[in-house]
């Protein structure tokens, strides 16, 4: 079943258009990666999906249902979660409180999921009584992802997956995500700059440029595609 | 006139306004004020100063600059009068007031301010004079006062006289304007257990002081309050608890003088009773007297020229229902006495220096 189906999405800020006719879909149980040039509208796209930015046009269907007019909190209830760029953490609350709040729409399973997230990120367990605002940059990133996991979403969206994370943590995270997908069938939509990583863990990927989808396909195929190799893999 | 309709001095302000209104109606019924050859109907513009001197100042400024008023009847409250005075003086208008008794008003070198009240220290002095004349002679006194221009003056009068008469002042302390809880002061008074308690404040505080004295079970032999007891509302507010409390008055209906407008003091009392259904007390009388003084000066001057009217006021020495009205060069009245009343059987009766009845002393404890 198509979990998420976006067609012809247009969006922007003020009168500056950022997204132009973006269409994209995510199947159930699939991990989809988005990469592409900076400023091409990836974060904007996720903002529209979670609902903190209103689209100008186009449709967003989640589980066959139109959600483009729902406020964010309703979408979260339906099973979408976002670990946002800029993190949007509750800096003045403790790490544990931040995580618990992630379970707002799944309160009955809060305790259980807390354990789970702590097992993924022991760093957070150590810091659970400290304020989120006092965490290091990378720790905040972990917290943001951990919080998104707390609601047991059907679709997990992560902006800048590896941002500021140490290599060891990135590896661990990659493992965790593939495992969660296998065990729980959660779908994911991931924005990641590190293209080899993105293609490593995803089934399919989209390439954004200047607000448009310029390329898409199965990750293995893209990895082999020359244009991609040239622009994104061989530069360093 | 800018008068307090609301706020802390709403009660006194209303009484003052009654005094003005009675005068206005009486004069207008008689055909108005005769100035030169013309007769003028009296019109009084009122504004509510909400018992706030700053507002008074603003309103008087407005009366003079916007409404073009030249002759102003004063507001109630010394601070209000004080505030208004500066403005009146600035614009060289003329104010006659029967609402402020602070002596400070007359120490500013103002030329255009006249007042028909004895100054505040006399309030305190009269109370002490009465107290020491009673047997058994009280020995200790506690004086509390509201931190305002009039009350402080009155309290200082009492303090001075108490020292002169050899009383021991065990407490002399102020509380802020508008205070509504005096627990701390009461605790202090209770610890000192004085024979006399003098409270210098205004109507509201008088009620509060009595209530809290009772609440804290404090039983002095003599309770004197500068403002309150002569006002009918005082008994209404306190009922039985008002009994035997003393209060000084600028004027009482026991006075006996002739009057150009009302015939004599009795005539005034009757006119007042007819209009308002109760006896006048000194706030209203002060208002009427102030207006009367202005009227007489206007008629004698025969012109609306402020300077000339002022000269007439300075020269004046006339007998009215209120006593003889005459001012010194600072504008202060210098020609009339004061009195003290005590609440007996729910009514204020004059007990000093003229005696309608004997004072009850010492005061029995609260029930």
């Amino acid at each position: 079943m198509r979990l998420l189906e976006v067609s012809d999405l247009e969006a922007g800020y003020g009168d500056v258009q950022v997204l132009r006719s973006v269409s994209l879909h995510v199947e159930e149980g699939e991990i989809v990666a988005i990469f592409g040039s900076n400023g091409s509208g990836k974060s904007t796209f996720l903002k529209v999906l979670i609902g903190t930015l209103k689209p100008w046009g186009g449709t967003v269907k989640f589980m066959e249902r139109h959600v483009e007019d729902l406020p964010p909190e309703e979408r979260v209830k339906l099973g979408i979660a976002l670990a946002a760029e800029g993190r949007k953490l509750f800096l003045g609350m403790t790490v544990e409180e931040n995580l618990l709040l992630g379970a707002w729409v799944k309160k009955e399973k809060a305790k259980e999921n807390l354990e789970r997230v702590y097992s993924y990120f022991p760093e957070l367990y150590e810091k659970r009584r400290e304020l989120a605002g006092d965490l290091s940059g990378g720790q905040q990133q972990m917290l943001s992802i951990g919080r998104a996991l707390m609601s047991e979403p059907k679709l997990l969206m992560i902006d800048e997956l590896s941002l500021g994370l140490a290599p060891a943590v990135v590896d661990r995270l990659a493992n965790i995500l593939t495992r969660i997908r296998e065990e729980e069938g959660i779908s994911m939509l991931i924005v990641e700059q590190e293209v080899s990583l993105a293609l490593d863990i995803s089934d399919r990927a989209y390439v954004f440029d200047l607000g448009e989808v310029v390329d898409e396909g199965r990750s293995e195929d893209l990895l082999r595609r020359d244009s991609i190799r040239k622009t994104y893999l061989s530069v360093l | 006139a800018a008068v307090s309709f609301t706020g802390k001095y709403a009660k006194e302000g209303e009484l003052l306004r009654r005094g003005y209104e009675l005068w206005k109606e009486t004069v207008n019924r008689r055909g108005g004020i005769k100035i030169g050859d013309k007769r003028y109907k009296v019109e009084i513009i009122y504004y509510d100063d909400q018992s706030d001197p700053k507002t008074t100042a603003k309103l008087v400024e407005k009366l003079i600059t916007q409404d073009g008023v030249r002759f102003i009847l004063g507001p109630y409250g010394s601070a209000q009068v004080f505030a208004a005075a500066g403005i009146v003086e600035k614009h060289k208008a003329l104010m006659v007031q029967g609402g402020g008794a602070s002596s400070k008003i007359y120490k500013q070198g103002y030329k255009y301010i006249f007042g028909v009240f004895n100054t505040a220290p006399d309030y305190g002095k009269n109370l002490i004079d009465l107290a020491v004349s009673l047997k058994p002679k009280p020995k200790t006194v506690a004086i509390i006062y509201e931190k305002d221009i009039f009350s402080e003056d009155a309290a200082r009068g009492a303090l001075e006289r108490a020292k002169e008469k050899g009383l021991k002042v065990v407490l002399f302390e102020s509380y802020p304007k508008g205070a509504q809880d005096l627990s701390s002061l009461m605790i202090k008074i209770r610890a000192k257990n004085p024979d006399i308690v003098i409270g210098a404040g205004h109507f509201r505080d008088s009620v509060l002081v009595v209530k809290q004295l009772k609440q804290f079970k404090i039983n002095p032999k003599f309770v004197g309050l500068t403002v309150g007891p002569p006002v009918p509302a005082f008994v209404k507010a306190l009922g039985k608890d008002a009994e035997y409390i003393f209060g000084p008055v600028q004027w009482s209906k026991a006075f006996n003088y002739k009057d150009p407008l009302f015939g004599d003091t009795k005539g005034y009392v009757e006119a007042y009773r007819k209009k308002y259904g109760e006896d006048p007390e000194y706030h209203s009388a002060g208002g009427t007297a102030a207006a009367l003084a202005l009227q007489i000066a206007l008629e004698r001057a025969g012109t609306l020229d402020v300077e000339k009217v002022r000269k007439e006021l300075l020269k004046m020495k006339v007998e009215t229902f209120y006593g003889v009205i005459g001012f010194d060069e600072t504008g202060k009245i210098v020609t009339k006495p004061m009195a003290v009343v005590q609440i007996q059987n729910g009514r204020p009766v004059t007990v000093y220096p003229f005696k309608e009845a004997e004072p009850v002393y010492p005061k029995p404890p609260w029930e």
């Binding site: 979660a81 949007k88 | 609301t6 509504q180």
Partner: protein, 291 residues
């Protein structure tokens, strides 16, 4: 000396009332990040409600507390929905101005209806008191003390239902963040504002029994609530208690030893110093003005 027990008793009784009175203010501040300058006037509104019910229908002001609370609750929710929600998005000081405008409006409206005269709710037991050894105890104050304690406890329990409490704070810290985890900020704002205003109104009943009031006394009460919140720290019941007692002691002792006139000044000075030196309060955690 014999006077000390009396002073301590007075401070305790008064302080507990202050704690309850300030709870709503502290809650709205800690949670909505709003300093509600109309708060004091909410209390006064409560006092007038109790006054009207008492003089009109003879309902004892202590019995009409639930009614005041409900009235405040609806009023708070309404205000939040109609006014404050829209302004909260702007800089914080805009809400200050808005609530100040509200304060001017409400107090003048009261003045229009009731005039500026001092009113008091003269319940028959108002002047009753009894003596224990060196201290004299005023019955009303004791009643108010117990009621304050009881109601404060109730609020404490309410906030301990952690999900509500937590959601409330989350929204305050990052509105978009809260939405992302599925909380509806609008609802949370309304609940908090309603609760806070309800507390203000019901404390008005107690205030009205304790002493006289006029439409313009709100400003001073806001300052007191503010002081309690600053001294104690924000948004927590324990902090409000600490702050309330602090203010109680401060007022009674300065009034006694320095004179009534210095009471308010002392409070303001202490508040000023607290803000400068320890803006997080005695018990408080981090405050929000700083990241």
């Amino acid at each position: 000396m014999g006077i000390l027990p009396q002073l301590i008793l007075e401070s305790l009784l008064l302080g507990t009332f202050y704690a309850f009175m300030s709870l709503g203010f502290s809650l709205m501040w800690g949670v909505l990040n709003i300093i509600n300058l109309a708060y004091g006037t909410y209390i006064i509104l409560g006092a007038y409600t109790a006054y009207t019910l008492y003089t009109g229908l003879g309902v004892d002001p202590l019995l009409s507390i639930p009614f005041s609370f409900l009235l405040g609750l609806s009023f708070g929710v309404l205000l939040q929905r109609v006014l404050i929600d829209r302004v909260m998005r702007l800089e914080p000081f805009m809400v200050l101005i808005l609530t100040f405008g509200l304060d001017v409006f409400l107090s003048n409206l009261l003045n229009l209806i009731f005039r500026a005269d001092i009113r008091s709710i003269d319940v028959p037991y108002a002047e009753r008191s009894f003596v224990i050894g060196p201290v004299i105890v005023t019955e009303v104050k004791v009643l108010v003390f117990f009621l304050s304690l009881l109601l404060t406890g109730a609020v404490y329990v309410l906030l301990q239902k952690t999900w509500t409490g937590r959601s409330i704070r989350a929204v305050a810290l990052d509105r978009e963040g809260a939405q992302i985890v599925g909380i509806s900020p609008g609802k949370v704002f309304a609940v908090t504002s309603g609760l806070g205003t309800g507390i203000a109104f019901s404390s008005g009943n107690l205030y009205g029994v304790l002493q006289g009031f006029t439409p313009f006394d709100g400003g001073m009460l806001t300052v007191k609530a503010f002081l309690v919140s600053i001294v104690g720290g924000l948004g927590r019941v324990e902090s409000a208690l600490a702050g309330g007692l602090f203010l109680g002691f401060l007022e009674v002792f300065t009034a006694f030893y320095l004179g009534e006139g210095w009471k308010f000044f002392a409070s303001l000075l202490v508040m000023f110093l607290f803000l400068l030196i320890r803006p997080r309060g005695l018990l408080g955690g981090k405050y929000y003005g700083e990241v």
